[in-house]
């Protein structure tokens, strides 16, 4: 007798949780793997539990109540391999306290995979960005919401994109004073296609953004567009920042620089970068830094679906719709139990989400002028402490013209984060120096180990043979 099919969903944010629920309701057994202690991902981050209270978010309650979902929390998938049947995969994971030695190891056979690995903040380098106290907007929000801890007492927020607003509001909630929010872009570009934004973003999302703007206004937080933090200063930690007005290309308008001091934290976010190592390991086609999916969230790799920000950033509502569609599609393909009406309804919401994502990208583009802020000794790669001057010399003096060669020549992207923070920025800088994109822009995203594993654990191997039931 063969075991009933099993879907492994990686990531328990809005997309992954919805995918798991949809597949489970279709009669499929689901393993939902996520690094956090609880369901919800970065968006529905749970506050640190107050003594005696353990309130569940509705999404989490549904997952807990669904008997066909096994939720593996504090678990990380560190490698994928081809499985015993066409379209199946071996999923290698570790579970337990983060980065501890001897985390529990398991290998699952997945008849289908739904990858909902999400995205993380992009930060464009500028002089002083490596000073302690300079953090990503996502870090500030995760700390404020999840840990009720303020990253600083007097904080500046800068970057581009609507996520800067909830990050700034979370700082206020945690008790910080926000000295200013500096948006490099021009959010009034939304007005060009306001009806589309209303239709595709949905009233709830726009109401949410309006509530953030209201909170910032009540606290008299200065919010300026076409301005950004162009340098951070301090001895051993951030103590001051320089804010400047930007021209249309994001070059600094001469004479517009102004120092804000004292500050003890700076939160920066220039949009998000999809977490691509698992989709690349599964052989999924990636274009423009996003996983390519069809109208049912299927990737180019048989048996592999993707949903949420890994396919493009459109917010939690769109991610949830993509997740539901991916879960329905995976269940239908495994059991032939298609629910056309539900698939069609989810697909319509997904199409609206894609249009919204395109509008977001058009409203908050990254302009090439950021490159002009880098000085000879501005760090590009934080881990290996590679400066812009060293990167430029590798390209212009030593003739390196592909990301892999450049990595081996000047060590950019060779450190502990494996190019997650610097890879995209370095590729953009190299493209500027060469006058064309480098040959292999995805080279830094290919990581055979998707998460760090202790060598002792790697040597000891999994606890048993692959679990097939």
């Amino acid at each position: 007798m063969t075991a009933p099919p099993r879907v492994v969903v990686v990531g328990a944010g809005p997309a992954g949780a919805r995918a798991a629920l949809a597949a489970a309701r279709g009669g499929i057994r689901v393993v939902l793997v996520d690094g956090e202690p609880r369901v919800g991902g970065q968006y529905h981050r749970h506050p640190l539990a107050e003594p005696g209270s353990r309130r569940l978010h509705p999404l989490e309650r549904s997952v807990v109540a669904q008997p066909r979902i096994e939720h593996l929390s504090r678990a990380t998938v560190w490698a994928l391999e081809a499985g015993p049947r066409p379209g199946s995969h071996l999923v290698h994971l570790q579970q337990g306290s983060a980065d501890a030695a001897g985390r529990t190891q398991r290998t699952l056979v997945a008849d289908a995979l739904v990858l909902c690995t999400g995205a993380y903040d992009r930060v464009l380098p500028f002089p002083g960005w490596e000073l302690p106290g300079v953090v990503t907007a996502g870090a500030a929000r995760a700390l404020a919401v999840g840990q009720r801890t303020a990253v600083g007492r007097r904080v500046v927020v800068s970057g581009t994109g609507p996520f800067l607003l909830p990050a700034a509001v979370s700082l206020l909630t945690a008790g910080s004073r926000v000295a200013g929010v500096y948006e490099a872009g021009k959010p009034s570009r939304w007005l060009r296609n306001l009806p589309a934004a209303l239709r595709d973003g949905g009233p709830a999302l726009l109401a949410e953004l309006a509530s953030y703007a209201g909170a910032l206004a009540r606290h008299r937080v200065p919010c300026r567009s076409r301005r950004a933090v162009v340098a951070a200063h301090g001895d051993g930690r951030v103590e001051a920042v320089t804010v400047a007005r930007l021209d249309a290309r994001w070059g600094v308008v001469p004479g517009s620089e102004r120092v804000i001091a004292p500050v003890d934290a700076l939160c920066v976010g220039y949009g998000f970068l999809p977490q691509l190592e698992l989709p690349l390991a599964a052989g999924c086609l990636v274009r423009d830094g996003r996983v390519v999916v069809d109208a049912r969230q299927a990737t180019s790799a048989p048996g592999v679906y993707a949903a949420g920000e890994v396919t493009g950033v459109a917010g939690p509502v769109a991610a949830a719709a993509e997740g539901e569609l991916a879960g329905l599609a995976a269940a239908a393909d495994l059991s032939r139990a298609c629910v056309p009406a539900r698939e069609a309804a989810a697909a319509a919401r997904v199409r609206a989400g894609r249009r919204f994502a395109a509008a977001l990208e058009e409203t908050y583009p990254i302009r090439e002028g950021w490159r002009s802020r880098l000085t000879e000794d501005t760090l590009v790669c934080r881990c290996e402490e590679v400066t812009y001057g060293q990167l430029r010399d590798a390209v212009t003096d030593r003739g390196a013209d592909a990301m892999r060669t450049i990595k081996l020549t000047c060590r950019v992207g060779l450190g502990a984060c494996q190019g997650r923070i610097c890879g995209r920025n370095a590729a953009d800088l190299v493209a500027g120096l060469l006058g064309r994109p480098p040959a292999d822009t995805l080279a830094t995203d290919r990581r055979p180990l998707a998460h760090p594993v202790r060598l002792g654990d790697l040597a000891s191997g999994p606890d048993g043979p692959p679990a097939t039931c």
Binding site: G35, P37, Q42, L48, A49, P51, S97, A98, D99, A100, A101, G102, Y120, D121, E130, P132, G133, V134, V135, T136, G138, A139, A140, A142, L143, Q147, T149, V151, G236, R237, D264, Q275, R382, C383, E384, E385, G415, A416, C417, R420, I421, P452
Partner: protein, 93 residues
């Protein structure tokens, strides 16, 4: 029930579910690691386990991401200088 953890030998109260990074920030620190090459101070940056800037030693085992690791009662947290090898009291399964 409050927990007690030790930061460079000094006891600090901690809350269940609190991350090492949140605890270190609450003690007034912004940096708890120095870089391998330049010896420059580093602390929290991405906050979600991506950047590996916030590495710290917990119970003798180095290279633990402070932003992800939740404290346990009695944990010994030590700042990390450059590339560190596991100490004699290294954590074992």
């Amino acid at each position: 029930m409050p927990l007690t953890v030790y930061v460079d030998g000094v006891p600090h109260p901690a809350r269940p579910g609190q991350t090492v990074a949140a605890l270190l920030l609450a003690t007034g620190r912004t940096a708890w690691r120095s870089t391998r090459h330049g010896g420059r101070p580093r602390g929290l940056f991405c906050g979600i386990g991506v950047c590996h800037d916030c590495l710290v030693a917990v119970n003798g085992l180095p290279d633990v991401r402070a932003c992800l690791r939740e404290v346990c009662d009695g944990d010994r947290i030590e700042t990390q200088d450059g590339a560190t090898l596991p100490g004699p009291a290294g954590e074992r399964a």
